[in-house]
Amino acid sequence: MAQAQAPAGAPKEGSQVAAHAPHQPGFPPFQANTFGGQLLWFAIAFGLLYYFMSKVALPKIGAVLEDRRSRIARDLEEAQAMRQRSEEAEAAYQLSLTEARDRSKGIAQEMRDKLTAESDVRRRALEAELAEKIAASEATIRSRTTAAMSNVRGIAADAATAIVERVTGRAPDRAVVDAALDRTLR
């Protein structure tokens, strides 16, 4: 029809439109004769999209996301473990610090005790020595006193003899003088 009309000088534009849409010119979305072709190409396009998405793209994206999620979870877990380790290390450090402090306290106490003991020993030795010396001195004093006392007896005897000789003009018997001295000095 269109070809028959074209040489007759019908407007080219109109014949083109007629060739494309020779049916009812109505509202394009409601032209039922286009439905078949549209559905065919829709099926092809959507089928391709669904196939590509479900078989290739979405599993890959999901895997990447899952990988990231697990990676983050693992990193967090690791950080948590590290924190725990550092806390443990700190506790151990505190413990060893306390221990060291206790030990140093012990060592100081020990040293003090040792020094005290040593000085005690020395003091006691010194005291013993002094006591010995005192005892020796006392013995000396005693022996001297005894000696002096025996000399005093001799002097007293001599003096008594001399006094009696002067008074009586006659030297007393030695034994009588000794007996008199013994009586007085007792």
Binding site: F27, Q31, F35, G37, L40, F42, F52, S54, V56, I61
Partner: protein
């Protein structure tokens, strides 16, 4: 004669231009193939060098993935995740086709009811087939709400059946009508600008429809996203019925 009127005709933009009529190839088919290509290309490019710390494109792709995955999980539970590839394909397909329609001189595939109806029928077929496969005749429990007195039960079941049957219609008409109406409105206001400018002195009024056209363009971008999302979330809710038919 026909040419100048069709340029301003708001319906003209929805016409299908046959490219290879023998196999029904039109510009609509090419737009669909282009959308599939764009989505696949984005996914492929983003994941080609997938790294632990994502780049821009990878972030966008991953965000869409998580966004849809969360939507599916919230509406249909973990079991709904088996339909995740379907829902993701539906969302990206509708969204990219809506957005391609916003390209100047572009064609809006989703403004054709047969396409949106086909999308809705994919969802409803999945719901019915999976529902019967999974639950057998228990799937019919979807139409019998519990806790309803016996004497009004027939009425309630009738309402439930009608509501179920009208789902594919509402799902497809919502998307179709939104895209169609938005693009018609845009075209009309843009046409006002041209007509006013051509009309001489009243041309000083032309900024008014221009401003409206700009505002409508922004609104249309919102609608393009929103309708794709609404389609997706309703899909998830219907799939949830197939997984858990009891009310």
């Amino acid at each position: 004669m026909a040419a100048p009127t069709s340029k301003l005709d708001p319906i003209h933009q929805f016409e299908l231009l046959p490219i290879i009529p023998q196999i029904g190839l039109t510009q609509s088919s090419l737009y669909m193939l282009a959308a599939v290509g764009l989505i696949s290309l984005a996914a492929w490019a983003a994941m080609r060098s997938s790294s632990l710390v994502p780049g821009r494109l990878q972030s966008v792709v991953e965000m869409s993935y998580e966004f849809i995955a969360n939507t599916v999980r919230q509406s249909a539970g973990d079991e709904g995740m088996r339909f995740f590839p379907l829902v993701f394909s539906l969302f990206t397909f509708v969204l990219v086709l809506n957005l391609l329609g916003m390209v100047p001189y572009g064609f809006t595939v989703t403004s054709h009811i047969i396409i949106t109806f086909a999308l809705a029928m994919i969802v409803m077929t999945t719901v019915v087939v999976y529902g019967f496969m999974r639950h057998g005749t228990h799937f019919l429990g979807l139409f019998v709400p519990s806790g309803v007195p016996g004497y009004i039960m027939p009425l309630v079941v009738l309402i439930e059946v009608i509501s179920f049957l009208s789902r594919p219609i509402s799902l497809s008409v919502r998307l179709f009508a939104n895209m169609l109406a938005g693009h018609i409105a845009l075209k009309i206001f843009a046409g006002f600008v041209a007509s006013l400018l051509a009309a001489g002195f009243v041309g000083i009024l032309s900024p008014l429809p221009l401003a409206l056209a700009v505002a409508l363009t922004a609104l249309e971008f919102l609608v393009a996203f929103l309708q794709a999302y609404v389609f997706t979330i309703l899909t998830c809710i219907y799939l949830n019925d197939a997984i858990h038919p009891g009310h």
